[in-house]
Amino acid sequence: MGLDFSILQDYIGLFLQGLGMTLLISLITVLFGTIIGTPLALIRLSKSKVISIIATSYIEIIRGTPLLLQLYIFAYGIPLAFPFIRFSPFVAGIIALALNSSAYVAEIVRSGIQSIDEGQLEAAKSLGLSYALSMRKVIIPQAIKNVLPSLGNEFVTVVKESSIVSIVGIADLMKVTNTISSQKFRLFEALLFAALLYFIVTFTISKLVNYIERKLSVSHG
């Protein structure tokens, strides 16, 4: 039996819609993952043991349990246990992905902060800067630059892992692919085409991150 991609051409629009949804979910996830993950890294680095342990526990639990299970908790578990809480599948998917990603971003940012020479913070303190201001103006900009490749990889990971939300009925690229293939009985062609789309996106992100990295290293040290 041969491959017949021509059958898919009526569905290009649908594929692209699914891809759009995947990109939207990934962007929101990375955005919130970073917004939650960066302070989480700072909390983990806190001198207060109690506060640090809280952040560490969160990070370890999230990283130590499957994303699929976390998704089920938000999509099915919580709405069943607390009927007054109602998430749309979209919101449940975003929450699960963003919380999951925040734990990985936190670890990336933490390693970035720890890679900065202690003298930088010492110098900032000696000039009267508060800890928060030192972090904002001196440490975090350098840390982010150092971990940009890792953050880019995390973005790529999110694009791929977000396919899991198709299970709870979000019409992302994976879900659309399933739908089309089951309608047309052309599973293999649909899967290959979806793979191509995923690859184009992740490859582009990787190249973009490389480019930004090179630009930053030209303008700074």
Binding site: E122, S126, G221
Partner: protein, 249 residues
């Protein structure tokens, strides 16, 4: 007698079971250039970093302008501590210029964000300071494109930009190539001549002798001997001082 700027009594610093400072007593008066010498690991840098509380002593008292700021623990709120630190410029052995900022941004970071000066004034003052250290042409250069000597001169200008009452130097030339040392010492010499109060930890003995108004010899966490450069270098009283000077001179 000049005003007492910093007073230190019975200062101790312990790292684990290592006693780095042992009952150190030490004052700094306005206009003085105090030079601290001694073998590596004698506690000189730790003492200097205790002055602006970059390191917290284990016990003892520190006063600044007769105000007790440390008495076995830090007595200042965060904002008060930050304020006190802006009265003392600190120059590090490893320069510690902010790698994400250019020279001008390094100089204006604290004046604009901490001292709340307006941007234009901060820039003008910085240009003035850069001229003073001979780096007018490097105002918008990036630290990574500067030589060690240039970095340290920028670091001195950055410390001066907060308009401190005293400048603290922690082995400012130890990380420099020999050909870069002179330009940094020259800047420090001019600063001393302008009347700035300075505390300098250094291994540059000739410079210490020339520039210091008072020299302190430290060994094993204690002040062994102090006096005028002439007293200490030419007529040391203590055996340990003599031994050290014989080894380095």
């Amino acid at each position: 007698m000049a005003n007492k700027l910093i007073e230190i009594n019975n200062l101790n610093k312990v790292f684990g079971n290592l006693k780095v400072l042992k009952n150190v007593n030490f004052d700094v008066y306005e206009g003085e250039v105090v030079v601290i010498i001694g073998p590596s690991g004698s506690g000189k840098s730790t003492l200097l970093k205790c002055l602006n509380l970059l390191q917290l002593p284990t016990s003892g008292q520190i006063s600044y302008h007769d105000e007790l700021i440390f008495n076995n623990k830090c007595l200042l709120s965060h904002s008060k501590l930050q304020n006190i630190r802006t009265k003392m410029g600190f120059v590090f052995q490893q320069f510690n210029l902010f790698n994400n900022l250019n020279v001008m941004e390094n100089l204006t970071l604290s004046p604009i964000n901490v001292l709340k000066r307006n941007k234009e004034d901060a820039i003008n003052k910085s240009l003035e300071l850069l001229k003073k250290v001979g780096l007018s042409d490097k105002a918008y250069a990036h630290p990574k494109n500067l030589s060690g000597g240039q970095k340290q001169r920028v670091a001195i200008a950055r410390a001066l930009a907060i308009n401190p009452s005293v400048m603290l130097f922690d082995e400012p030339t130890s990380a420099l190539d020999p050909e870069n040392i002179k330009e940094v010492l020259e800047v420090m010499r001019n600063l001393a001549l302008s009347g700035m109060t300075m505390v300098i930890v250094t291994h540059e003995m000739a410079f210490a002798k020339e520039i210091g108004t008072r020299v302190i010899f430290m060994d094993e966490g204690m002040i062994v001997e102090e006096g005028t450069p002439n007293d200490l270098f030419n007529h040391p009283k203590m055996e340990r001082t003599k031994k050290f000077l014989n080894a380095v001179l």
